[in-house]
């Protein structure tokens, strides 16, 4: 037990050294952050300005540059929790289905008689027909408009639920389609929000789906939540423009009324397009992944009536010509028109796989927010308050460490020194791990670190107290230390596992401060077990080997 093999010693010291190296960038937070930001900006732009070069030089490339992410409460920024009104989409789907259904029913006017839309719930389409006895035929026609669902869970089901009640035909989205629509709506909202937030170009924002219909948006460095709301409220530009030419020169002469736009997924390709769009994204009602007549992945899209009219007229005149789908000044696709598209819906096909078609559908829909957002929670933390908290937290942590070290050394002498080195190492490892996995440090997180410092000593205290007992029984030093470590093991493990359970629960159920605290607490537990058991033992063993003490005062 007390002769630790060489490879183990190397391994333990290796972990410690790696920990020190990984944690180091946090000592030079400002410089490393400037370096990282400049690198990211330069990569995005493809070149570096002089200022960025200078910032990049602040930190050598070969050193690790991972930093502990500072939470909004420490850095300042805005936090929003938005609810997506997914039901909005059901209504617009029904509204856009009505003209289509009316046309289909009108073709059999002799049989069915006159039809008209009547009041119904927002997410349903209620249609009255003149000859109720022909309801079966009407239902059949309506069924003709339904299409099978493409998603995995809903495969084999139809997207429309059609029922009849008296002389009223009721059409609504099937449950499977509703679920698929919800997912699409959230995905699309996320994509749009992300695009809009990225516009401001602040540091790594957090944009996540939360629960079934919520989006969490956290943007460090932004002035206020109100500003962020405004930003999200603006519409991303989706347009359909006629293509004039395609080339590789970004500075090509475009001619009056034309502009040169880069292609989104083809490197170095630029399109010259007419500046005035044929149709804009506001007129697009839906886009979804599908398959074309050859079974190749494609994207179906649908315009509202005015968009459909304009698009129909344009496509009729330009068969064989390409048109560009432009999103935020980038050409995301430039398909060739094969047929006049007069129905208001069309299909984009070409060389793409299913993942790409799904992505394109998302991008197409990314024009306008598909559903209304309401903001359930918003928080703005000013940068001054954040800086105050960092300063206070730093000071408190240092005082805490000094206090604990003084107390432990006074209690256990040289062993106290070992325990203190282990505790400081524990904080280093904690920071290193957090930097490596990009975890976020919050104000409660700092409290978590301080608590870890307090309790990390616990494992050592358990061990030392055991050694004391063994010494009191008159055992020799080496055997007392050996027994002390062995006997303390089960208590340390039990104690840590129970706290770990509490930490995990906090992490998975908690949000905000609870989660921030749980992150440091659980990581701190893992590192403290390592430092208390392996690192302290190594220090003590080396000390015993060097000094070979006949007696030990503990």
């Amino acid at each position: 037990m007390l002769d630790i093999p060489l490879w183990k010693r190397v391994l333990i010291l290796g972990v410690v050294v790696i920990g020190l190296i990984w944690a180091m960038p946090n000592m030079f937070y400002g410089r490393v952050e400037a370096h990282n930001d400049a690198v990211a900006a330069a990569e995005k732009a493809g070149f570096a300005t002089e200022e960025q070069e200078a910032a990049i030089d602040l930190w050598p490339d070969w050193l690790p540059s991972g930093l502990v992410n500072l939470g909004l409460d420490l850095r300042g920024g805005a936090h929003l929790l938005a609810e997506v009104h997914v039901e909005d989409v059901y209504k617009s789907r029904m509204d856009s289905l009505w003209p289509e259904l009316r046309r289909a029913l009108a073709e059999e006017r002799e049989v069915i008689g006159a039809v008209r839309r009547v009041e119904g719930p927002e997410d349903q389409l209620h249609v009255e027909i003149e000859n109720p006895d022909q309801m079966a035929r009407a239902v059949e026609i309506a069924r003709g408009l339904a299409s099978p669902i493409v998603t995995l869970s809903g495969a084999g089901q139809s997207d429309l639920d059609i029922t009849a009640s008296g002389n009223t035909l009721i059409v609504q989205l099937s449950d499977a389609e509703k679920a698929a629509t919800d997912t699409r709506t959230i995905q699309q909202s996320l994509e749009i929000v992300r695009r809009r937030v990225d516009e401001v170009g602040t540091r790594e924002p957090t944009i996540q789906r939360q629960g079934s219909d919520r989006i969490l948006i956290q943007v460090p460095g932004i002035g206020s939540a109100a500003e962020l709301k405004e930003l999200i409220g603006t519409t991303a530009q989706l347009t359909f423009n006629p293509v004039i030419g395609r080339g590789t020169d970004p500075d090509a002469r475009a001619g009056i009324g034309n502009i040169v736009l880069p292609s989104q997924n083809e490197e170095g390709v630029y399109y010259t397009v007419e500046e005035a769009p044929v149709v804009t994204g506001e007129e697009l009602t839906d886009a979804s992944p599908s398959f074309d007549q050859n079974g190749q992945p494609a994207v179906d899209f649908r315009f509202n009536p005015s968009g459909a009219r304009k698009f129909g007229a344009y496509t009729a005149e330009n068969i064989g010509q390409p048109f560009a789908i432009v999103l935020d000044n980038e050409v995301i696709s430039a398909p060739v028109i094969r047929d006049a598209i007069t129905t208001g819906s069309g299909q984009i096909s070409g060389s793409m796989d299913v993942a790409e078609s799904t992505q394109l559908a998302v991008l197409l829909r990314a024009g306008a927010l598909p559903a209304e957002l309401t903001f359930l929670e918003e928080r703005t933390i000013g940068p001054e308050l954040g800086q105050d908290s960092i300063d206070a937290g730093k000071l408190a942590s240092i005082v805490a460490i000094v206090g604990v070290v003084a107390y432990v050394v006074a209690s256990y002498g040289i062993f106290g020194v070992f325990a203190s080195v282990a505790v400081i190492m524990n904080v280093v490892l904690l920071l290193a791990l957090m930097s490596a996995i990009g975890a976020t440090l919050t104000l409660p997180g700092i409290a978590g670190i301080v608590l870890t410092v307090g309790t990390a000593v616990d494992a050592n205290v358990i061990i030392f107290e055991r050694i004391r007992e063994e010494l009191r029984k008159g055992k020799r030093v080496v055997s007392a230390v050996d027994t002390g470590f062995r006997e303390a093991m089960s208590a340390i493990i039990d104690a840590n596992v129970t706290t770990f359970i509490a930490g995990l629960v906090m992490f998975f159920l908690g949000s905000g401060p609870v989660k921030g605290f749980a992150v440091t607490l659980t990581i701190g537990l893992a590192t403290s077990v390592f430092t208390a058991i392996y690192f302290t033992r190594l220090l003590i063993v080396v000390w015993l080997e060097r000094r070979r003490p006949k007696e030990l005062v503990l």
Binding site: L385, G403, Y407, T455, V461, V505, V553
Partner: protein
């Protein structure tokens, strides 16, 4: 002879259970008082759990809370307002901080930007130097969900811990441990109610930590108890317990003190934003240490525990052996 700081002499022989009736009685009384406090005075829920808006203002000039309140009564369409001045020993002369809390009016959403603008404008009018360093707004829809998840978190953590102790020890220990947790959580909520301290999401984090700390402490003592139960098979349970507490007393106090030192540093120097949170944890260290000695073990003492681990329980012998010819 080297100097050693020792809080507890090497050999102690304190009879902890001499006062068990009083200590346990005291715990019971305190728990009842906490429940009564929670039912009558309730908790001073922060916006996390009640919905509403808090605005933290900071100004270089001194202000009067009454002026702030007067200015805000002019603002239309906002809920009830409460204003507190924040004091912190680390603040300089020219730092005046206030916390303005505005009740929720809408039943789902956070405050509108217009309302916040109006509030900020009203305050800027009476004090041009005022800065709004933090604005937080939580809609009632979310806040009620936050309460629910907070309660779930505490229950789930307790259940997980209960299960683990049950698997590692005996069910009596698990019951003892969980009663100790309930004791600690109740007493902490009780003091929050008595002092009407703000109870929000970070308080829940503190409660969960107390839970973890307390059980940590309890488990270490249980671990030694289990060991002693095997070692001293014939000693009466109460004496084994006494011995165990004496043996672990030094460690218990040492750990409690190091944690307390670290937390005290944070309490005094960590700034007013987390003071409530740290207070809860400090309180938890005290209560948790107490409960692992006087509550958890008393429960185990009451329930009794199987003593002889070397022989299988005769009642539980498998049938094929007892009925074998």
């Amino acid at each position: 002879m080297a100097f050693r700081l020792k809080l507890v002499p090497d050999e102690t022989n304190i009879n902890f259970f001499r006062w068990q009736r009083y200590t346990f009685g005291l715990s019971a009384v305190l728990m009842v008082i906490s429940v009564i406090l929670l039912l009558t005075m309730g908790l001073n829920f922060g916006i996390d759990f009640r919905g509403g808006t808090t605005i933290r203002t900071e100004s270089s000039t001194a202000f009067d809370v009454a002026d702030y309140r007067a200015a805000l009564t002019e603002v239309e369409g906002i809920g009830d307002v409460s204003i507190t001045e924040v004091f912190d020993p680390t603040y300089g002369e020219d730092r005046h901080v206030a916390q303005v809390r505005i009740g929720a009016t809408d039943d789902t959403e956070a405050m509108t930007p217009e309302q916040i603008d109006a509030v900020e404008a009203a305050l800027t009018e009476i004090d041009p130097n005022v800065k709004f360093v933090a604005v937080e707004s939580v809609g009632p829809k979310v806040s009620s969900e936050l309460i629910k998840t907070a309660v779930y978190a505490i229950l789930a953590a307790s259940a997980g811990i209960l299960l683990y102790i049950w698997l590692r020890f005996e069910w009596q220990f698990a019951v003892g441990g969980v009663v100790a947790i309930i004791h600690d959580v109740l007493l902490t909520m009780g003091i929050f109610s008595a002092l009407q301290m703000r109870f929000d999401l970070s308080t829940i984090a503190a409660l969960l930590t107390i839970l973890g700390y307390s059980i940590n402490d309890t488990v270490v003592v249980f671990d030694r108890l289990r060991e002693n139960l095997v070692r001293y098979k014939t000693m009466p349970l109460i004496e084994v317990m006494n011995l165990t507490v004496n043996e672990t007393l030094s460690r218990t106090l040492m750990t409690a003190l190091t944690t307390a030192i670290a937390l005290l540093a944070l309490f005094i120097l960590g700034g007013d934003v987390i003071r409530g949170f740290v207070f809860a944890m400090l309180w938890g260290v005290v209560v948790g240490t107490y409960s692992s000695i006087y509550v958890a073990k008393n429960i185990v003492l009451w329930l009794g525990v199987k003593r002889d681990w070397s022989k299988p329980d005769p009642d539980k012998l498998p049938d094929q052996f007892t009925e074998a010819p």
